[in-house]
Each structure stands twice: as structure tokens, then as C-alpha cells.
């Protein structure tokens, strides 16, 4: 019998007092506040508990696997990658038992929720989902992480402005290396292709869309691989540039910033007598988010920051024109926060019934207002956009339409004493 060893990353009294000496399957629902969070099939027992006002995912695993996953998730956090955050690991006294604790990712949802709520021909939403998966795996590979089991089921999604953000949930098979070989990347992509296709076929089966839906699923899975290759090439290609490389450098930097990468170094290397090769080194994928934080102090997603910065700068220039004077950007940012952002967030969040992320609701408001104005040929103002959000009549294909995923089927139910735990 091993000694109990509880390692928590925060001194959460609620977590500390859970019955760690017992195997997770034997925990008494009259003594522990279980929450019923739907998850896909898992080889391990996974349960959700509420403690100290937060929901935590507990996964019963052999010790070696639990410790590996805990360490790996911490590595992902250190490398600023989008993954669930490890909250602790508990080595239990009996057999080879251990429990990995992760923090439940607020406002996240599984791919099934989106795919079941939008029509299969709503390709724009599906495309955003696949963009997110491809981006995640590119980010992992750039940081030397071999996932080994990339699948839709092992990923959670959040909305982030007009894009979606994918979060790695299951790191059991993952490995951290200084860099990945081409063989590791290829193998990871092959696994991803199989798993993504499988996940999509499974949803098609649930919707009664097989066998017709099979080919679409396979094509979409291949689309994720293609997206990955495109993004990887953008990051790693070394194009030949002419004697005056200024235009090529600007275009490359712009392309990278457009997809959120902050360029840290531009390098021109002579190859042969006349040829110059251009390569760039990029940092984290938070180019706009960092700018927005510098101006406002707010930490938002990269996709949200793009929209908010655009709103801030449009408003700023409009104020300058109105007042006929130059306004420092930081001053404009402060005023924008008070006069436009804060009330806008509140109204937008109210309009969507208080569901989802308030900042995202404001991003949706901005998008819908812009789209409605495009249709009308003039600026329609906030009111029609708020009404459209409230009535779920957002323009087809808009990112705001995906707000449907923020509507929970139900609040995460408490498992009451006497009921079997989920």
C-alpha cells in the first residue's frame, strides 16, 4: 500500500477534503457534489465534482499515466498552449490508483454540440471548427508536442471572436520534445485524419446521414490536414526574394499577423550569388491580444482582440474627426472602454439571455451590426443588431450564428444524494 500523496496547484479546501483514500468509483454522492457533464467515451473513469465554486474534472488512472499527463499538461501551460489546466494529481493508497485533476474549461463545448445544432450544409461553422483543430495541432507541433491521439473527442472548443479556439483535453498519449521530426508530425497528422473522420462519421450516424455523409466526413478530415499544411508552410517556408525584399517582407509579416502570429525576427540569408531567402521566426499566437491588453489591460482571446481593436480604432478615428484634434491612442482606449465597450458588453450579454461569454456577446453585436449595415447600405446602429441577437435571427453564416452553442441543453445538473453518480 502506498502512502496517500495529494499534489494540488492551489490550496482549494474543497478539493483537499475530498475522499482521496477511496477509489473514485467508490465515492459517495451524498458526501461529494458530483456534476453531470456529458463526455465522450473514455477508457478511464471520469467524474466532475464541484468544490469551492468551481467544477473540476477527475480522471482515475494508473499512477504512471496520471503523473505523465499531469507533467505534460503543465508543460503545455508553460509553453502557453491551449490545453485544459492541470490542477493536481493524487496518488492513492490502493493498488496502482491515481487521480488526475483538471479545471473544467468554462464556456467550452464538445464538437458534437455544434455539429448537432447546425445543419451539415452550414459549412462555414464546420470550417471554423476545422480551422481551430488545424491551428491547435500546428501550435503543438511548433512547440515540440506530439499529441498521439488528436481527435475531435479529445478537444474542447470555445468561441473566440469570429473564430473558434480548440483546447487539448486529453494528453495521455502526448510527448514533449525539443522539436518534432517530420516523421512525428506526419504520424500525428495521420492519426488526426483517422480520428477526425471517425468523429464526423459518428455524428453523421447519429443524425441518420450515413452512408451519404461518409464522403463529406472524409473530405472534411482531409481539409483539416490541408489547413495544417498551409499554415505550416506559411510559418516555415523560405521563399526566394528579389534584390529589393521590402514588399515580400511586408506581405509575409502581414499574412502572419493576420492569423495572429507576432513576428519576432525576419531573416534574409544569401543563397548562391544573387538569391536571398526570407524566413521569419514567430512568437506566440496572440499578436492582437497583446496589443489589446497593452491598451486596455483586458485579457481576451486573439479572435476577440482582432474585432475589439478594430472597433476601438474605428471609434478613435471617428472621435478625432468629430473633435478635429488628435487623440493619443491610449487616451482613446480608456474612453472607448468606458463609453463604448463596458455598456456594449452589458447590453449584448443581456440580449443573448446572459448565456456565454459577455465579451464574445459584444463581438457578436459588432459583427451583426456590421452585416446588417452592409445589407441596408448604411449604418443601422446597435438596436437592430441587439434585436437580431436576442431573437436568434443573426445573418446566415455569421460567426454570431454559432452562439447557438452557448445555449446549454441545461445547466450542469447537480447529482443529488441517492442518485447514482454519472
Amino acid at each position: 500500500m502506498a502512502a496517500l500523496d495529494v499534489r494540488l496547484r492551489s490550496a482549494s479546501p474543497g478539493l483537499l477534503t475530498l475522499p482521496w483514500r477511496l477509489p473514485l468509483e467508490e465515492w459517495d454522492p451524498t458526501a461529494v457534489r458530483f456534476r453531470d457533464v456529458p463526455i465522450g467515451p473514455s477508457r478511464h473513469l471520469v467524474r466532475f465534482v464541484e468544490a469551492d465554486g468551481s467544477v473540476w474534472a477527475l480522471k482515475a488512472m494508473p499512477r504512471r499515466a496520471a503523473t505523465h499527463e499531469y507533467d505534460l499538461l503543465r508543460t503545455l501551460e508553460t509553453r502557453a498552449l491551449t490545453a485544459v489546466r492541470a490542477a493536481g494529481v493524487v496518488i492513492q493508497p490502493r493498488d496502482d490508483d491515481a487521480v488526475l485533476i483538471t479545471r473544467y474549461l468554462e464556456r467550452s463545448w464538445q464538437y458534437r454540440r455544434l455539429l448537432m445544432r447546425v445543419r451539415p450544409d452550414a459549412t462555414v461553422h464546420r470550417a471554423r471548427l476545422f480551422d481551430a483543430v488545424a491551428s491547435l495541432i500546428v501550435d503543438l507541433h511548433r512547440n515540440g508536442i506530439f499529441w498521439g491521439d488528436c481527435s475531435l473527442a479529445n478537444t474542447l472548443f470555445t468561441r473566440d471572436g469570429q473564430v473558434m479556439q480548440a483546447w487539448l483535453v486529453d494528453a495521455e498519449t502526448a510527448e514533449a520534445h525539443p522539436t518534432l521530426s517530420d516523421g512525428q508530425r506526419t504520424a500525428d497528422l495521420e492519426i488526426m485524419f483517422d480520428n477526425v473522420a471517425g468523429g464526423l462519421v459518428d455524428v453523421a450516424a447519429r443524425r441518420g446521414e450515413l452512408p451519404e455523409g461518409f464522403d463529406q466526413a472524409v473530405a472534411e478530415a482531409q481539409g483539416v490536414v490541408d489547413r495544417y499544411e498551409e499554415l505550416w508552410a506559411l510559418l516555415h517556408s523560405r521563399p526566394r526574394v528579389g534584390a529589393d525584399p521590402r514588399e515580400a517582407v511586408s506581405a509575409r509579416v502581414r499574412d502572419l499577423e493576420d492569423v495572429g502570429f507576432a513576428v519576432e525576427e525576419v531573416r534574409l540569408e544569401a543563397e548562391g550569388d544573387d538569391d536571398l531567402r526570407l524566413s521569419v521566426a514567430v512568437g506566440g499566437r496572440r499578436f492582437h491580444a497583446l496589443q489589446f491588453r497593452a491598451l486596455t489591460g483586458l485579457d481576451v482571446g486573439e479572435g476577440q482582440a482582432r474585432i475589439l481593436l478594430s472597433d476601438l480604432r474605428t471609434t478613435w478615428h471617428a472621435w478625432e474627426q468629430e473633435r478635429g484634434t488628435q487623440i493619443p491612442e491610449v487616451v482613446a482606449a480608456h474612453e472607448w472602454l468606458l463609453r463604448r465597450f463596458a455598456p456594449g458588453v452589458e447590453r449584448a450579454h443581456q440580449a443573448v439571455g446572459g448565456h456565454g461569454d459577455p465579451v464574445q456577446a459584444y463581438c457578436d453585436l459588432l459583427e451583426v451590426r456590421w452585416l446588417l449595415s452592409e445589407q441596408a447600405g448604411h449604418d443601422v446602429g446597435d438596436e437592430p443588431a441587439l434585436a437580431a441577437l436576442a431573437e436568434r435571427r443573426t445573418p446566415g453564416g455569421s460567426a454570431a450564428e454559432a452562439a447557438i452553442v452557448d445555449l446549454p441543453t441545461q445547466e450542469i445538473p447537480v447529482v443529488h444524494p441517492g442518485e447514482p453518480p454519472p
Binding site: G183, A187, D194, V218
Partner: protein, 392 residues
């Protein structure tokens, strides 16, 4: 099916340190080869080079006689079993197994059916083919994952610590399943594990690695009975082999707790060494109280104080402390550290028949056969007696 040949394989990372150093290994067609060793020994790196996940720094890798160093993983026709565990809850077991074949679209429905049914029969899943995965037990789900690998008709199966993420009960069950599947298919299999029980029960042969270098490749029995050095002897066996410093005094060998005449067959290997390390497996000891006098006369008897007895039902272990003489060499310190720092313990572990009535604190009379000792060189750890048949 194919044989896998590794010729002088080296893997160096950026720091120049060889994670795998000059490994040559022939894995025969249909053979079940285990790669085993402590953490960081290079076993997983070796497997990843075979599958194509890691580049090979130097040396040649041949699969089915063809050099594949530069081939992409997908072009090597190898299956990493259990890598792709995900089962799809809304697809039947049949469709879950058929999925990789449907995905590659180069097979008719009839061909797919034939392969899936054959795999299902082999895995005893035939009656479950129409069910959904949620209606299967944990072991059956794992078998579905194996079915996916089987239908692909790979040239070889590769396993990278496949059982380490399973709970203890399922682990034992799946070990048997893997062995059964490999025997039925007769497919070349390379299996990485750190677990010596898996290594000893599954493999036709076991390749034991240490610090990127191959120590010994042999059948489990040979590895156990004729380890080529102290590292192999200490790694294989649980509880591990006892290592005891011994001083040679002419024709006599002096252990800290007994001295005796060196058997003839050990004299030549020991030569003129003053000190050696003697290796004795715990089960080579016997409780004198349970022995007949004929056998007693053919061995060495000694007395020792029993510190603790662990009774396990089918056997028991007695721990007998002794005074360890100061003897040390650089080579031994390295072996000690590679085996987890517990090689040279100042106590004997003695495996006893469950009928033995030794208690904590009692004085025990213990017997062993000196012809079954292993004798290791103090400086190199080499087994000086490995050529001596273990049964003599």
C-alpha cells in the same frame, strides 16, 4: 509479414548524446520481440525509429529486406496497436473495426466483410458485431481496437507500452489477449515495456537495453538463467538477484556470512581475482528444516538472523541482514545507479517454501547450491560464469 533488421543503429540528439548507440538486432518473421530496460534506456526511441517517428542518425533499418530509413511512416506498412483507441459510440462494433478500411477506399464491401469477420472471430467478438461500443466491457473495447490493427494487414505490429495506461485488472487480461492474438496471427511484433512481467511472459526473445546499448538478446528463460552481466541479472527477476561481495582465499570463497570450497567449474572463470560479486537468485535458497539429508550434503549451509518475513500465500520472503564489506569500483557504481541504487543491499532476500515456519527475529538455517551461483567481475560487472550451464 516481414523480418525487421537493425544494423548498427545510432540515434543522436542535438547535444550529441547517443540515445541509441550501435544497436544491431534481427527480428525474425513472426517473432515476438520485447524491448525492455529502465527509463531512458532508448527502447522507445528504437521503436520510434522503426516506425519512422524518429530519424536515424546512422545505421540501416530493413523491413522485409528493404532499407526503409528514408521512408515515411505510412509507407512502412507497420501498425501501432492501441495508438488509435477511439471507438465511435454510434457505429456498431462491425463498423468500428471496418473503419480504417472504409477510410482508405481501396476495398470492396465483400473484402471488408471478410476481413472484419475473420478478425472478429479471432478476437471472439463475432457475437458482438452488431452491438454499440457502450454495450461492451473494457476488455472487449480494447479488442475492438486490436481488430482495427488486424484488418489493416500490416507487416508487423508495434506496441509502445500499450498496457501502462490500463488499470491492473485490465492489464493482466489484455496481456493474455495480445499474446493470443500474436500467436494466432503469427505476425512480427515489437513490443516496448518497462515491465519485466510483460517482458518475460510475452516475448519469444527479449532485448534488454541500458543507456542506449543492447545488453543481451535472448529468450526470457536464458535471460533469467544466464544473464551476461550484473545489470541484466539485477533487472530481470523479482525480487531481484542477491549480489554479495566475495573474497577469494585460494580455493575457498568467503561470503560475509559463510565460506566454502569453490566448485570446480567456477575456478577457471574466477581465475586469480581477489574479489568477485556473487549473484544468488532468492529462490535458490532453501530452509534447512524442510530438506532431506542427501541434498543437504551437496550444498552449503549457513545461519542467519531473520529480520522480517513477508508471507504471500504461495511463497514467502525472508530478509536476512549481514555486514557488507567495503568493496567498490566505478563500473559497479554505474550499474548500481542504473538499477535504481538498490543493487548491493546488506541483506539477503530468501524465497522460501510456504511450509517454512521461519518468523521475524528467528535464527534461520539456510542452504544453497554453490554450483548455481553466478559470479561477476567487480570492475566490469561481466558474468564470469555465463558459459557454465545453469543446471549443472
Amino acid at each position: 509479414m516481414a523480418e525487421i533488421t537493425l544494423k548498427h543503429i545510432v540515434k543522436r540528439y542535438g547535444d550529441g548524446f547517443p540515445a541509441v548507440n550501435d544497436v544491431s538486432l534481427d527480428i525474425a518473421d513472426g517473432e515476438f520481440m520485447i524491448l525492455v530496460g529502465p527509463s531512458g534506456c532508448g527502447k522507445s526511441t528504437l521503436l520510434r525509429m522503426i516506425v519512422g517517428l524518429e530519424d536515424i542518425t546512422s545505421g540501416d533499418l530493413l523491413i522485409g529486406g528493404q532499407r526503409v530509413n528514408d521512408k515515411a511512416p505510412r509507407d512502412r506498412n507497420l501498425a501501432m496497436v492501441f495508438q488509435n483507441y477511439a471507438l465511435y459510440p454510434h457505429l456498431s462494433v462491425y463498423e468500428n473495426i471496418a473503419f480504417p478500411l472504409r477510410l482508405r477506399k481501396n476495398m470492396s464491401d465483400d473484402e471488408i466483410r471478410e476481413k472484419v469477420e475473420k478478425a472478429a472471430e479471432m478476437l471472439e467478438l463475432t457475437e458482438h458485431l452488431d452491438r454499440k461500443p457502450s454495450n461492451l466491457s473494457g476488455g472487449q473495447r480494447q479488442r475492438v481496437a486490436m481488430g482495427r490493427a488486424i484488418v489493416r494487414d500490416a507487416d508487423a505490429f508495434l506496441f509502445d507500452e500499450p498496457l501502462s495506461n490500463l488499470d491492473a485488472k485490465l492489464r493482466g487480461q489484455m496481456r493474455t489477449e495480445i499474446l493470443r492474438m500474436q500467436r494466432r496471427l503469427g505476425i512480427t511484433t515489437v513490443y516496448v515495456t518497462h515491465d519485466q512481467t510483460e517482458a518475460m511472459t510475452l516475448g519469444d526473445r527479449v532485448a534488454l537495453l541500458r543507456k542506449g546499448e543492447l545488453q543481451q538478446v535472448a529468450s526470457p528463460r536464458e535471460l533469467y538463467e544466464q544473464p551476461v552481466n550484473m545489470f541484466v541479472a539485477g533487472f530481470i527477476g523479482s525480487p531481484p538477484m542477491n549480489f554479495v561481495p566475495a573474497r577469494m582465499d585460494g580455493a575457498r570463497m568467503e561470503l560475509p556470512f559463510v565460506s566454502f570450497e569453490v566448485p570446480d567449474q567456477l575456478r577457471e572463470p574466477i581465475g586469480d581475482r581477489e574479489w568477485v560479486i556473487v549473484g544468488i537468485r532468492p529462490e535458490r535458497f532453501e530452509d534447512v528444516a524442510l530438506m532431506d539429508s542427501d541434498k543437504l550434503g551437496r550444498g552449503v549451509e549457513f545461519e542467519g538472523k531473520v529480520d522480517v518475513v513477508e508471507w504471500l500465500g504461495n511463497e514467502q520472503y525472508a530478509y536476512l541482514p549481514y555486514d557488507m564489506p567495503q568493496i567498490s569500483s566505478e563500473g559497479m557504481q554505474e550499474i548500481e545507479s542504473d538499477l535504481g541504487g538498490e543493487t548491493m543491499q546488506p541483506q539477503l532476500v530468501v524465497a522460501l517454501d510456504p511450509a517454512s515456519r521461519l518468523d521475524d527475529g528467528s535464527t534461520a538455517k539456510i542452504w544453497f547450491d554453490p554450483t548455481r551461483l553466478h559470479v561477476f567481475d567487480v570492475a566490469t560487472g561481466e558474468n564470469l560464469t555465463v558459459a557454465v550451464p545453469a543446471t549443472t
